[in-house]
């Protein structure tokens, strides 16, 4: 069987997900024996615009150029895998979506009175193209990308975790920060896969893997944290860090905004 052709591409993001692939280190060399790398932006100058079996795309669509490149990659790939939160829900750069216009953001950074380049409100890939698989995480986990690679090479569809961080937290017998300490942990609504890294270190989950698709009970998270004494804006910000484009949080934000009336975040 011919080696599958793989392309690794990046749109707007921090490069951390490609780096996590490189962080497979020695294992990467073993893995790469089984595939043909056609493009690996962060690691190689080879950038062939040919058809690939699997395209891994990192980063959010934040510019017209991103969009153009994404569409091109989609056309050339049999399977397109979004890696990292940026490519799924836009990640932190999307946290003010619907709250601030791009013009406002631009003025904030570049000052007023200039004519600025055209940027898009950041979104994940699936807003624009069909995505075959999404690997959540900011960044993705090496264990996970390894598993995905192995599954695909073995010929199977990778299994993606679709349950909350709390499960992994319990499986590791970490103390529950939310229940025992009243810390504002987002574990109950965030997709597992990190092996509950933060609770394991005594840190409340900020949700870097993004909310669980179609299962996010954001309203209850708000309610729970309000009861613990956190203020609404604080909680909303937290929910938005990695989840501003996710349905449950979007709805909640909208509701909160209607309640208080007018724009916020100023």
């Amino acid at each position: 069987m011919a080696k599958p052709k793989i392309g690794i591409y990046g749109l707007t993001g921090c490069g951390g997900d490609q780096l996590m692939i490189l962080n497979l280190e020695n294992e990467l060399l073993d893995l790469l024996r089984n595939v043909e790398i056609v493009a690996f932006q962060e690691a190689s100058s080879v950038q062939q615009d040919e058809e690939v079996d699997i395209a891994f795309v990192e980063g959010s669509v934040s510019t017209e150029l991103d969009l153009e490149r994404l569409k091109d990659v989609r056309k050339r790939s049999r399977m397109l895998i979004a890696i990292g939160d940026c490519a799924i829900g836009g990640c932190v750069q999307a946290m003010r979506n619907q709250e601030m216009t791009m013009k406002e953001k631009m003025e904030e950074v570049y000052g007023k009175g200039e004519e600025y380049f055209k940027v898009l409100e950041p979104y994940g890939l699936s807003k624009y193209v069909n995505v075959d698989l999404e690997l959540q995480g900011c960044p993705i986990e090496t264990t996970e990308i390894r598993q995905v690679f192995l599954s695909l090479l073995h010929g199977d569809t990778p299994e993606i975790k679709d349950y909350p961080v709390c499960v992994e937290c319990k499986l590791n017998e970490y103390q529950c920060l939310l229940v025992d300490k009243g810390m504002p942990c987002l574990g109950p609504i965030i997709a597992a896969g990190c092996n509950a890294r933060c609770p394991g270190l005594g840190i409340d989950c900020v949700g870097c893997r993004g909310p669980i698709m179609n299962e996010t009970n954001a309203a209850e998270e708000l309610h729970t944290l309000l009861e613990k004494g956190y203020d609404e804006r604080y909680i909303e910000n937290r929910l938005r860090f990695f989840g501003a484009n996710f349905e449950g949080i979007l709805k909640l934000s909208k509701m909160l905004r209607e309640k208080t009336g007018g724009a916020r975040g100023k």
């Binding site: 073995h154 010929g155 199977d156 569809t157 299994e159």
Partner: protein
């Protein structure tokens, strides 16, 4: 040394044949002779097939026990394990555990009429009963088989059923076929030829074609979950007692032996494990166990 029930036994694929676009016929032979000889199953039981590195899934055995200790299965692909099975060539090895589940009460059904109602892939466990009852024809009275398909292309064990259709009552079984796509050409041809035994519509429509005697009839249903409700209603309308209507259920299963808990159904007063209390239940169970159908 105590036996580890979770450790699969190796079996060789002796046949892996495409039946339709989605289904394959799989024939397995257990490698170890002794294991094979000890492998006695009831019709309606299932086995767990393991593919190394992929996982494990339950499948009904679709033929009656035979002297050569071959296990026949009919597998619909699409998931991880099922797609992997499809890739495996003849001679490849898979892991097998089982047989598990209760199976059908064949002894109890002796002397009765049998009505077998299959929808789509549900034909798999019913085919074994059909085989058995035809082989032991004298033990049963009327044998009627309803088979519902979507299109001719999705029909399983096509040759066998076509010959039943062609054979009419002579075949020992009254075979009826329903198809859902009214424009399917091959089905239309069949209907033209066997208008009394073949019609378009869902499988429960076949009840219009034949009389079911409420007395002394055992009905066995297997198919997609909504089918149970409709067929069950048709049968109860015809006064077949719910405890003589048997259904075979599908649930997510990870162990097959009542440990992993994924297949639990019911309410406080009727919790059941589909794997070990079933997969065969009566319609009476279904009426009294919440969430069963």
């Amino acid at each position: 040394m105590m036996e580890n029930v979770f450790l699969p036994k190796l079996a060789k694929i002796v046949k892996n044949e495409k039946m339709t676009a989605m289904e394959h016929f799989l024939r397995l032979q257990l490698l170890d002779k002794k294991t094979a000889e000890e492998f006695q199953y009831n019709l309606g039981q299932f086995i767990e097939i393991s593919i190394m590195g992929v996982g494990e899934a339950p499948f009904s055995i679709c033929s009656m026990q035979n002297q050569k200790y071959l296990l026949d299965l009919c597998i619909r692909s699409g998931g991880r394990v099922t797609s992997a099975i499809l890739r495996l060539g003849e001679g490849s090895l898979v892991g097998v555990r089982g047989p598990y589940g209760n199976g059908f009460p064949l002894k109890e059904m002796e002397g009765s009429n049998l009505l077998l109602v299959a929808g789509g892939l549900g034909v798999a466990p019913l085919r074994s009963i059909l085989q058995y009852s035809l082989k032991n024809r004298a033990k049963y009275r009327d044998i009627t088989f309803f088979y519902g398909i979507r299109t001719y292309d999705t029909m399983l064990f096509r040759d066998e059923f076509n010959s039943l259709l062609a054979g009419g009552d002579e075949s020992g079984c009254k075979f009826y076929l329903s198809y859902e796509d009214p424009k399917d050409e091959q089905c239309l041809l069949l209907e033209a030829e066997y208008s009394d035994r073949c019609m378009s519509g869902v499988v429960s429509k076949l009840f219009e074609r034949t009389e079911i005697s409420p007395k002394d009839t055992y009905a066995i249903i297997c198919g997609p979950s909504i089918m149970y409700k409709f067929v069950g209603q048709e049968l109860t309308k015809r006064d077949v007692p719910p405890e003589r209507i048997l259904i075979s259920l599908e649930r997510r299963m990870r162990c097959g032996i009542g440990k992993c808990g994924n297949c639990i159904i019911g309410d406080g007063s009727s919790i059941r494990y589909v794997c070990k209390d079933g997969p065969v239940f009566t319609y009476w169970d279904a009426l009294h166990t919440k969430g069963m159908i």
